[in-house]
Amino acid sequence: MKCLICGREAVSDLCTYHTEARDKVKGAYPLWVKAYGRMEWKDYLDNVKRNVQTGQWAKEIAEFLQGV
């Protein structure tokens, strides 16, 4: 099976790099909620995607999760 984002060999639906990135995107959400008091999941993904510090694979995951 190929990674749905980059076409590399996949573990289930994503490759190891994007699977790890997905875990990190999900893991950072509570920190953002705590930081701003409240934040919707879709707003969070949007912010992550637009932030210049976000890594390339994390941005791809944010975009991927927005489409799911």
């Binding site: 076409g7 990135a21 893991g27 008091g37 510090q53 994390a58």
Partner: protein
């Protein structure tokens, strides 16, 4: 009675040795294209010749270059191993001819592992097995005094342990590199449609792993927000800015709470601390420190710094640069060198000042049995140095002078201001006595930050509290200097080879130039190695081999056992790679395509904001230009490109028009170019 044949490592060194020993009276002739010097020194007749670096190399006896595993190897003349070493054959013939008339042999190659290996091989293969009988000239500079002393005190078999270790290192690196590179290249070939050398070396693997690990962290990075709070405090018409004691406030509500609590309230200075600290001079340069400082000061890559330093050494201006030592022994004649430096324009005042006092240099913790720390010889340049040579020469001279300077003194002050239970801090520092910094000049790198004029109990009005939203910064990529430091810390590679290994990673396309960004190809190679040959990219095995090579060098280890062990380890890893050749090939080939494609992408299209601007070649005119990937959907953004030179993407956009900026390389100096022909920045006023 024959003459004494002296073998140097490089032609420039042979000329220097001859000049020094003959007082400039040596005659020269050409033998098989190599310049040879002849002269008498006392009763003895000398003939001085040189190699051209390594003239023998390791290879396998097989003609077929795609076969692996290969565990048989021999030493061959380098021209048979590497087509770039075409001159080696002539050197060998010349030295063989000269050896036939010699009764005594002196190895005067650089006194380190590589130099010892070069000399050993020539004495063994070109001089008919004279490696055991030859004498050794040991010197750290090519200055006359040092060379005369070395030839007055020739030693027998001084560096045989080094030669054995050097030969073992070459053999291990050959077996390692040739097998893994062939395994990877064959894998790529088995599934791909184009051939490309995919290499992997013993130190290259772990070095790529450092870069790859950092690259994964960067690409998976999620910035977490935080807030930075600072206050502006006023007293008697003067104001000072202080930072909140918690550098990062993790929630906006908390930061806002501090602002509301403190604004317009009274602040009291509670703890005012002032002190004077002594700052000692930096240790004398070893090669790693010089490479790091040159990168910091001039942006030179480690390999460039090494090349420049070697040129300065061959010009007898500095001591041997491939040293690990940070120590300057008294035998190098501190005062004589400083007196010499004083005669070079720009250093006379500093040199005269130092000569008035006692000369006791600071010593670093690292030592090297073969050579002292890098230092100037005190000789004046006999030719005009180019800009980069002048820069490195100045850095080495100033670091040497600074080593003799007294400690500098810096005044440090900081104060706490407390408002409603919240603490803010302000600090500063300035140099009150420059000491060694005066001699080290602009390289010293200490900045003065104004000291706060605050006394305990002073009262201020908190006139403003600023709350700034910030995000955690993603980890920085290694640069060539920090990577070199990492390799040193992890004890992989040697001081002589680290810079070259970094350059190889770039030339193989695993890492992109200055930014040291690991390419898709680099990540794929790394991933395949980690999956099927994990020891190859781990640091443990490489470090273990380095330690055992050091044992061989010291005489406590045995090279044959080390080679057997290496072959055993490698055989297992190669078998695993071979079984998975197709899978490895598929990943590498696909990553290779992505890396190539990505190299054509210059950046996002500023016109349609959907596509990417890419370098495209016209099918009709064959000329290259910039076009948008969204062309089929109607975007007509395009721009001409220079037709000569290499275009390299910078990942940066023009500040004026937001079109991509590229570097154009080739011919003269590289230049930056905004690809937009209508960029407002290009219009003449």
């Amino acid at each position: 009675m024959g003459y004494t044949l002296v073998i140097c490592e490089k032609p420039d060194a042979a000329r220097r040795v001859s000049d020094a020993l003959s007082g400039g009276a040596a005659g020269s002739s050409v033998v098989e294209g190599a310049v040879v010097y002849r002269f008498r020194r006392g009763e003895e007749e000398f003939v001085v010749c040189s190699a051209q670096g390594h003239v023998y190399g390791v290879s396998d006896p097989l003609e077929e270059r795609s076969v692996y595993p290969v565990f048989d190897f021999e030493w061959y003349p380098s021209d048979l191993v590497d087509e770039k070493s075409a001159g080696a054959a002539n050197r060998i013939v010349a030295i063989r001819k000269l050896a036939s008339g010699a009764s005594k042999f002196v190895n005067a190659c650089d006194f380190d592992v590589e130099g010892e290996t070069i000399g050993f091989n020539l004495l063994r293969y070109a001089c008919g097995g004279k490696e055991g009988a030859a004498l050794r000239a040991k010197f750290s500079t090519l200055a006359q005094e040092d060379l005369s002393r070395a030839f007055d005190h020739l030693e027998l078999q001084a560096g045989q342990g080094r030669a054995r270790a050097g030969r073992a290192r070459h053999a291990i690196d050959f077996v390692w590199g040739v097998n893994l590179s062939r395994a990877l290249s064959q894998s790529a070939l088995s599934s791909g449609h184009r051939y490309r050398t995919v290499s992997m070396g013993r130190v290259q693997g772990p070095t790529l792993e450092f870069l790859g690990r950092r690259e994964r962290e960067i690409r998976q990075f999620i910035p977490v927000p935080y807030w930075k709070v600072s206050g502006i405090f006023k007293k008697d018409g003067e104001s000072l800015t202080a930072a909140y004691s918690r550098e990062k406030v993790e929630a906006k509500a908390i930061a806002e709470g501090v602002r509301i609590a403190c604004l317009r309230k009274e602040a009291v200075a509670t703890a005012v601390r002032k002190s004077v600290v002594q700052v000692g001079p930096p240790a004398p340069f070893n090669i790693g420190d010089l490479q790091k400082e040159a990168y910091k000061s001039f942006g030179y890559t480690p390999s460039r710094t090494l090349q420049i330093a070697e040129r300065l050494y061959l010009g007898a201006l500095i001591s041997y640069p491939r040293t690990g030592s940070q120590r300057l022994p008294p035998t190098i004649n501190y005062a004589g060198i400083i007196r010499g430096i004083g005669k070079i324009p720009g250093y006379s005042t500093d040199a005269a000042e130092l000569l008035k006092g006692e000369l006791k240099p600071v010593q670093g913790s690292k030592s090297d049995a073969a050579h002292p720390a890098i230092h100037p010889t005190g000789e004046r340049p006999r030719r005009a140095l180019d800009a980069s040579e002048s820069a490195i020469f100045d850095l080495v001279v100033r670091r040497y002078l600074a080593a003799f300077g007294p400690s500098a003194r810096r005044e440090i002050a900081d104060a706490s201001l407390v408002v409603e239970g919240h603490e803010f801090r302000v600090g500063g520092g300035r140099t009150v006595f420059p000491g060694w910094m005066k001699y080290y000049g602009r390289y010293a790198g200490y900045r003065d930050v104004q000291l706060p004029s605050v006394s305990e109990g002073d009262e201020f009005l908190t006139s403003e509290v600023v709350v700034e939203e910030k995000f955690e910064q993603r980890p920085s990529r290694y640069n060539q200097s920090s990577l070199l430091e990492k390799m040193e810390r992890e004890e992989i590679g040697t001081k002589a080879t680290r810079a070259e290994i970094i350059a190889t990673l770039v030339s193989r396309g695993y890492v992109g130039g200055d930014s040291m960004e690991v390419t898709d190809l680099g990540l794929a190679v790394l991933e395949m190695m980690a999956k099927y040959a994990p020891s190859v990219v781990g640091t443990r095995l490489t470090r273990d081999i380095e330690e055992k090579l050091e044992d061989v060098e010291c005489g406590s280890g045995e090279e044959a056992a080390l080679l057997r062990e290496t072959v055993r380890t490698l055989a297992g890893q190669l078998a695993e790679l071979g079984l998975n050749e197709e899978a490895v090939g598929r990943e590498i080939d696909s990553a290779q395509m992505k890396t190539v494609t990505r190299s054509f992408v210059l950046g996002g299209c500023p016109v349609c904001k959907k596509g990417e601007l890419r370098v495209v070649r016209s099918k009709t005119t064959k000329k290259r230009f910039v076009g948008c990937s969204n062309y089929k959907s109607g975007c007509r953004a395009s721009a001409p490109l220079p037709q000569r030179g290499t275009i390299r993407a910078t990942a940066k956009s023009c500040e004026r028009c937001f079109w991509p900026v590229v570097y154009v390389l080739g011919g003269g100096r590289p230049w930056r170019l905004c690809v937009n022909p209508d960029c407002p920045g290009k219009r003449k006023s």
